[in-house]
Symmetry: none
DNA sequence: AATGAATGAGCGTTCATTCAT
DNA sequence: GATGAATGAACGCTCATTCAT
């Protein structure tokens, strides 16, 4: 209840989906290494040995969580800019979408993506990095679009890193029950990027 | 060479200091949970059992690393604003100092502070939080000073969180051997905070 | 090709027969303990759970393999001495038959019989021992016949054990594609038993 | 008591030695796969985790057992032929020594050597094979010496295999408390090899 | 202070077996 | 008969911690 329902495609009501949701939450709360397969199994209501009918290793659960959440949020990014041509509005859409991912519906898994990265095998890191590259390319295309309209000062690469820092850190302080809304925070961040109040436009 | 010498007071050439330096590096490279006491002992050149003459538990080593680095960087923050009264220059000093902490000399331990937080016992989290509060108060005082000079738009608390995000994330991408210097990055961030190019003033 | 077709009665083309053949081969290649029911099921093309419609436990598969191969080779022994009255020729027949069992068509299962003996339950060991007793009696009768013709020196029991050693160990070195034939080896062993070159007679 | 004291050099009263003796016995009684590290630990009177201060893996215990027993029995073979020049007496010495190894003081470990071979890693199989080659060379040299004195009919390689079969199988039937002594059995086997009663010499 | 063997709880994983479909 | 998800006990192994020396 207080626990928002995960809406990632691969994390549905199927046994596998419930398993991934539970794992994502536990990985975020306790960390990957401190979460035992027995913890996950208990959460899902099965025996620990049964986990291995769904995933060959514990690390594969982590890998699946990360893959699902990146794919889902890449799609969210696409929809955020679909049908919008104004570069500022596209950027605003991306920021909102990323905040939604980090402090909204997929926050557990997104946190895991940042904090448990090194728990992936090198092989899986490489695969997951390839997925992230697609996600990041959407950002870079949008920022370059912004620049070609003269609305971006500075290096797009650095700007993207600063945005990543601002959005990803928000998971550590944003209070979903506080006064600040995600949209308001998005506008505050947008202002830091393009250097003016967007509501004046 | 590539390995910067740690300069934190409590992490000096004494057995305890070398132990903390080694632990900080290993915790950052492998994570706290994946670093064994044997790893640390080997690095320092003693047997694993001997570690426990210096620290009662492995977690206490983590606690000590975090405490040392916070105390050291709090002092660095103090020196960064000492003797400067211009609020923008004070802010610039803080940003520079924090970047220095995160991607400069104390980067190993700072990374540990962020990524291994939940490996602390609740008790130690509370104690460490108290140290961070002192550190954060220096930031809040400076930001409020900035506001009273009319140089800050928006909520100081939120601004500080955005700065924290930008600086802390830089450990994931800043290249000490690249073209961008710490001072340049500090100015770029400063610009995002006060909304104008500072060097043009 | 290199894999000789098992010809044991109970190991025919029926599902049960194919299962026993596959199990015999796997037990010999990997050992009983290292062969999983999934290995066997995969070989036969069914799911592991379906094995248990044919055999109540994995150990029962081993028991069945052993029973089948002993019964088959006991019959082979009988045929080897059927219609022959010369005691030396009878002995030669037994040796040839046992070598055929050990390094010829039933070699997989015979190897299992030796190497996986202790994987049988005590109960099944007893039952299987009773089958072996019949097999061994054919040997003892023949050896006593040899003695009554004055062609055997020494204790028949010991002689039989020495023959068993020579024949059973041959599975570890005999090369079906080498120069030595089974019949030649049989004569060499025969010579060790009756103390003279049989072909010179 | 009924359990003969192992006398292999590396299996002495040290913790490591007692561990190897216990492991050899359990491996022989139950097989390597069915012997748990907890079984071994219990036998030695330590906790299961403590095993791993002595050997990195369970398989390394097996490897050590095999290495120790081969080295010990190779030395025994050497002493059996030392100072003897008569080829028949040398052969008799080897047979006695091998029987002593198989059914006497090192019988547990020798049995393991035969029955648990495939439980070794391929790497360790190779290493152990190299040790066995030294052992076997002593046999081949002696058999060739016998041939050069005109006392050996047949292929030395095959003869050695037949001897190996006779001696190794004896572990399955020889009764240390029965009427037959090891020396008597050695002479019976010797007779099978050189084709005449040795006591007539 | 330092050693290093020992502890023992706990880990990820395996696998023969069961059973609802 | 066949399926395949689930079971649950047991496995080899790890590692922070202890303690006699």
């Amino acid at each position: 209840m207080g626990q928002s329902q995960q809406i990632v495609n691969g994390m549905d009501d199927s046994p596998r989906g419930k398993l991934l949701s539970a794992a994502a939450r536990l990985f975020r709360e306790q960390g990957f290494d401190r979460t035992t397969v027995r913890d996950i199994a208990r959460e899902v209501g099965i025996q620990s040995g049964s986990l291995f009918h769904h995933f060959p290793t514990k690390e594969d659960i982590l890998y699946a969580v990360m893959g699902e959440v990146i794919r889902f949020n890449t799609e969210r990014l696409r929809q955020a800019i679909a049908g919008t041509h104004d570069p500022v509005q596209r950027l605003r859409g991306l920021i909102r979408a990323e905040l939604q991912a980090i402090i909204g519906d997929t926050r557990e898994a997104m946190s895991v993506l940042v904090y448990e990265w090194r728990c992936l095998t090198p092989e899986h890191q490489k695969d997951t990095l390839a997925l992230r590259a697609i996600y990041e390319q959407l950002w870079m295309d949008t920022l370059e679009g912004l620049r070609s309209h003269g609305r971006l000062r500075g290096d797009a690469f650095i700007i993207r890193r600063l945005i990543t820092g601002m959005t990803s850190w928000s998971s550590n302080w944003f209070d979903a029950h506080g006064n600040l809304t995600i949209d308001q925070l998005a506008d505050i961040i947008l202002e830091r990027v393009i250097g003016e109040r967007t509501e004046d436009a």
